[in-house]
């Protein structure tokens, strides 16, 4: 048995440590511990504040999935105060949300995840002429995926951003990479395991194409967020208000935050999103994913095979509340549910709906701290977020000192992340989870599918045909998790076009209202109120639970996606999705666990996390610090 430590894991939001217990002979990961290494106490900071300010504080939980915590927060406060927002505000918030989905997924794929699949070193071996030929072939082979996206506006004359399939284009990127390597100043490409055998799975031309698009999309990604800058004033961290949006609409005044010119800027950006997703992201994703699946890489599903969960998104029209169930009557993305045993086939999978009242039920969603650095009066039990307590209790590692760890104490407390559970059980969340819930719900007839659900089912069936594998085989895998994210980006674009059309139609009908300020003043609020704000963050199901007393926040608890996926084990022994994924991932080179990194990255972790893998038998095991690769990367 070998113990492998990787700390810090990069290309995530924050810090991550992983330690693996690996059987050196088989490369099998015997066990894994995931552990967060960062705590800021934002929930404590929120206590006593004005609930109308909460969105700004909560938004600072994350600047990568910026805006999502603001959205969950305004929803929670509106749910508590029973505020229904105007139609335009609902459409605008949905476009801001859809833009986040697109941007976040594109940046994750190219800038946080791509280098797990492709290598700039391999790209140097490619023939630029052949790469141009390949690009054309791939557009022919996979380009039809773009047809799955409905466009109710239909105003783009032709794509303005199109993958260039010329030798000169690819040569320029290859030259760039060559010079960087030759200069000895490798910068962001330094010190990685470029000699790992998995980098030989793809032909050099695929590497060059993907690396070129990595750089190309670094330049384009900023444009994908333009809708948030127009409606929210800036990005990262755009502005919202409780009761709707502040970006008033007037067709009489150029000084108005929103007028015809501003809407044109947004519409243009949405079409840029469509081009980035349909012509670059999805084609690259299918090209790379297809080869990996053909080479037998259908592992890494872990918890996704057993249990996934989502909350539902894209309210078609304004709703009167979340805990009263109205939100879920309006959502177009019916990911609100739990599905068990999807890997056993669509017929055997078990589907459980998740509706408004479930979020208020003290027995449905609970957080445990038995293995986290927090204190509860009784740690054998979980607490519902409304009753949630956040009291830090750092106990140090198993071996090493308080400030210099060797090994963490997986049998005791070992993480700054709590352990949320659905009816006491761990669930995976994220795009893959949402896709499994929608697919199962539709195929088993539990939900009346919206156009969005139908689009998702079509996407899954299309990819299944390409891969020549049924969804229950390819979806709950590392490749499937990455693929679901790309497909969801396309849904995000489709939603933006759909809600843009609704916004136009509503303004045309004479409604320019964006904010409901009837309950703006605290004097209009009840003495005590409780609210729930749920959404589907790019990384998975997100909920904020707020209690307002005498006009101030009395308690605020956030249960975030990476808490579900990356949290510590529970007192019943259940492990979160990161740990289960790592245990489902064999290694080729024990001290260069690229496959595990790829698996962890496939969740798009969004917390400073520490992950630690250990020997369940507690045997003395060999420690391996992951060591440098070749002198090329000093």
């Amino acid at each position: 048995m070998a113990r492998v430590v990787v700390d810090p894991v990069t290309r995530i939001e924050g810090h991550l440590r992983i330690e693996l217990i690996v059987d050196e002979k088989s490369g099998k990961v015997v066990d894994a511990v995931s552990c967060g290494t960062m705590w800021r106490g934002i929930e404590l900071i929120l206590k006593g504040r004005d609930p109308r300010d909460a969105w700004a504080f909560a938004q600072r939980i994350c600047g990568v999935c910026t805006s999502i915590h603001a959205l969950a927060s305004v929803r929670a406060v509106e749910d508590a105060l029973e505020i229904k927002i105007p139609k335009n505000a609902n459409y605008i918030r949905n476009i801001m949300y859809g833009s986040l989905q697109v941007h976040d997924h594109v940046v994750h794929f190219y800038h946080l995840h791509a280098l797990d699949w492709v290598s700039p070193v391999e790209a140097l071996k490619a023939d630029p002429v052949q790469t141009a030929v390949l690009q054309n072939q791939l557009l022919e082979k996979y380009g039809a995926i773009a047809d799955l996206m409905p466009d109710p506006i239909g105003r783009r004359a032709y794509p303005k951003k199109f993958p260039k399939a010329t030798p000169g284009y690819f040569r320029a990127f290859q030259e760039k990479i060559k010079k960087v390597v030759e200069s000895g100043q490798l910068g962001i490409f330094a010190a990685h395991w470029w000699d790992h055998p998995d980098y030989k799975l793809l032909p050099p031309e695929v590497h060059l194409m993907a690396v070129a698009h990595y750089l190309n999309m670094l330049d384009v990604q900023r444009e994908l967020f333009i809708p948030q800058v127009v409606f929210g004033g800036k990005n990262p961290h755009p502005h919202y208000i409780v009761g709707g949006m502040m970006c008033s609409i007037s067709l009489n005044d150029m000084n108005a935050p929103i007028n015809a010119e501003r809407l044109a800027v947004v519409e243009d950006a949405i079409y840029t999103q469509a081009e980035a997703v349909n012509l670059f992201y999805l084609v690259d994703l299918l090209a790379i994913g297809h080869i990996y699946v053909q080479k037998g890489q259908t592992y890494g599903g872990g918890l996704a095979k057993k249990r996934v969960m989502g909350y539902g998104e894209f309210p078609d029209e304004p709703y009167s509340g979340i805990k009263n169930g109205d939100y879920h009557k309006q959502v177009l993305y019916h990911s609100n549910g739990v599905v068990e045993d999807f890997a056993e086939g669509i017929e055997k999978a078990k589907y459980y709906p998740l509706m408004g009242k479930d979020f208020a039920d003290p027995g449905v969603i609970q957080e445990y701290v038995a293995h986290s650095w927090y204190k509860y009066p009784d740690e054998s039990k979980g607490l519902h977020p409304w009753d949630g307590i956040t009291e830090p209790n750092y106990t140090g590692p198993k071996e090493g000192t308080k400030t210099h760890w060797k090994y963490l104490d997986e049998k005791g407390k070992y993480s700054w992340i709590k352990s949320p559970r659905w009816k006491g059980k761990p669930c995976e969340v994220g795009p893959l989870a949402r896709y499994i819930v929608v697919y199962t719900g539709v195929k088993q007839g539990h939900i009346k599918p919206s156009w969005m659900d139908e689009m998702i089912v079509r996407q899954i069936d299309t990819v299944s045909k390409v891969l020549e594998l049924p969804p229950h085989v390819w979806l709950p895998t590392t490749v499937g998790r990455t693929a679901a994210r790309g497909l969801e980006a396309q849904v995000g674009v489709a939603a933006n076009l759909y809600f843009m059309k609704k916004l136009y139609d509503n303004i045309k009908a004479g409604d320019t209202s964006v904010a409901n300020t009837e309950r703006w003043e605290p004097s209009t609020w009840p003495k005590e109120a409780k609210g729930i704000g749920i959404t589907e963050a790019p990384r998975g199901a997100l909920g904020h639970w707020v209690i307002i007393k005498d006009g101030k926040i009395a308690n605020y608890q956030c249960v975030v996606p990476t808490t579900w996926n990356g949290g510590a084990r529970d007192p019943m022994g259940g492990q979160g999705a990161f740990e289960e994924c790592m245990k489902d991932t064999p290694l080729k080179v024990v001290n260069k666990p690229l496959e595990v990194l790829r698996g962890i990255h496939s969740f798009d972790p969004c917390l400073a996390c520490s992950t630690h893998l250990y020997d369940t038998e507690g045997k003395e095991i060999l420690e391996i610090r992951v060591q440098g690769s070749q002198p090329l990367c000093y």
């Binding site: 504040r49 830090p392 308080k402 964006v514 400073a608």
Partner: protein, 355 residues
């Protein structure tokens, strides 16, 4: 290390395009055209500067903002202007290999690399509220700062403390200048800072091999020299006494002044009013929301955000033009005085920070 001009030549960039680039950069940095020859000289002679970019308690909004820069594009900054040798967000490598690389870079470029810090160190629990490689981020920070030529404090976390340092500051998070005392620190506050402000600061450091001129609080004057209120396109409505009284009212549709719904523009120093976000596309006030003062020290505890500032005299609509003019002058003076006082107070050690 090679110079920019050498890099450009290697890429087949001709002399004319190189000069064009130098001219653009001069403009972006807010320098007068007379400075172009100096910029050209700098580009010809300066090598690419290694940068180590570390993350403490933060949300990564600064990194996200940085990659939104349009002029220059982040790809040009990262691949041709600096050599980003360590970055939690973009580095391909991970684990011990990357840590080893960081240590090698520190040794190899001792006294010549730039340390960029996003986020801040918590002092509570011996620093173990933020852990890198099994050790406190605080240690990581001090170790990385030791050989640095200069330190950039990205965003309000590194500059002031920001959200995790808001009351009751559960982790005792402190700005980096509370723990790094012997290095020049450039504070680039904002939550996050504007993308082009971030790349502008890097351009200055790299091209002139000098710290940009700083104000008394350590911020580059060129980007933090003006109050948003003074550069705001809605200022005329403030002067005329035309205000948004309630969100989405008639005034809001006309783009009137947001002062009465809590705008912090009168007490906030930043470039939102002049260069705006996304190369001039918008800024919070343009989208109809008051400034929340995110580049100012302790802005989280200066709320609630929607409560109007009470220290700024407001011109009344009934007043005639002369009176309005006097009132505005008085308001500006009051604002400046208030800011001076606040600055002095804040330059004292931060009690709340637990020191």
């Amino acid at each position: 290390m090679e110079t920019f001009w050498e890099t450009f030549k290697r890429h087949g960039v001709n002399r004319r395009d190189f000069l064009k680039f130098a001219t653009t950069i001069t403009g972006i940095m807010g320098l007068s055209p007379s400075m172009i020859p100096e910029v050209v000289r700098a580009l010809e002679t300066k090598p690419r500067v290694p940068v180590i970019w570390i993350h403490g308690l933060e949300c990564t909004c600064c990194s996200e903002s940085f990659i939104r820069s349009a002029t220059p594009l982040a790809s040009d900054v990262v691949l041709t202007m600096i050599s980003l040798e360590y970055d939690d967000t973009l580095s391909a490598a991970a684990g011990e290999d990357l840590e080893k690389h960081r240590k090698e870079i520190i040794k190899k470029y001792w006294g010549n690399y730039i340390l960029a810090v996003e986020g801040n160190p918590p002092l509570g629990e011996d620093g173990m509220y933020c852990i890198v490689n099994g050790e406190p981020f605080l240690k990581h920070l001090k170790e990385s700062a030791e050989g640095a030529k200069a330190v950039i404090a990205w965003g309000s976390c590194a500059s002031w403390g920001c959200v995790q340092a808001a009351k009751p500051n559960p982790t005792t998070a402190v700005p980096i200048d509370k723990v790094i005392k012997d290095k020049p620190i450039i504070k680039v506050p904002g939550c996050p800072p504007i993308a082009e402000v971030m790349t502008g600061v890097i351009m200055h450091l790299v091209l002139f091999d000098s710290i940009p001129p700083l104000d008394s609080q350590g911020r580059p004057k060129q980007f933090y020299g003006n109050r948003i209120h003074d550069t705001c396109y809605r200022r005329a409505f403030f002067n005329a006494g035309q205000f948004v009284e309630r969100f989405d009212d008639e005034g809001a549709k006309k783009g009137w002044c947001l002062y009465k719904v809590g705008c912090r523009g009168p007490t906030t120093y930043n470039s939102c009013g002049n260069i705006r976000w996304y190369n001039g596309l918008s800024y919070p006030i343009q989208a109809g929301h008051g400034c929340i003062g995110c580049s100012e020290d302790n802005f989280w505890d200066n709320g609630p955000f929607y409560q109007r500032l009470t220290t700024i005299p407001v011109p009344s609509v009934e007043a005639n033009a002369d009176k309005v003019g006097v009132a505005v002058a008085a308001a500006a003076a009051a604002g400046a005085v208030a800011h001076g006082v606040i600055s002095k107070l804040r330059s004292k050690p931060n009690k709340k920070g637990g020191e």
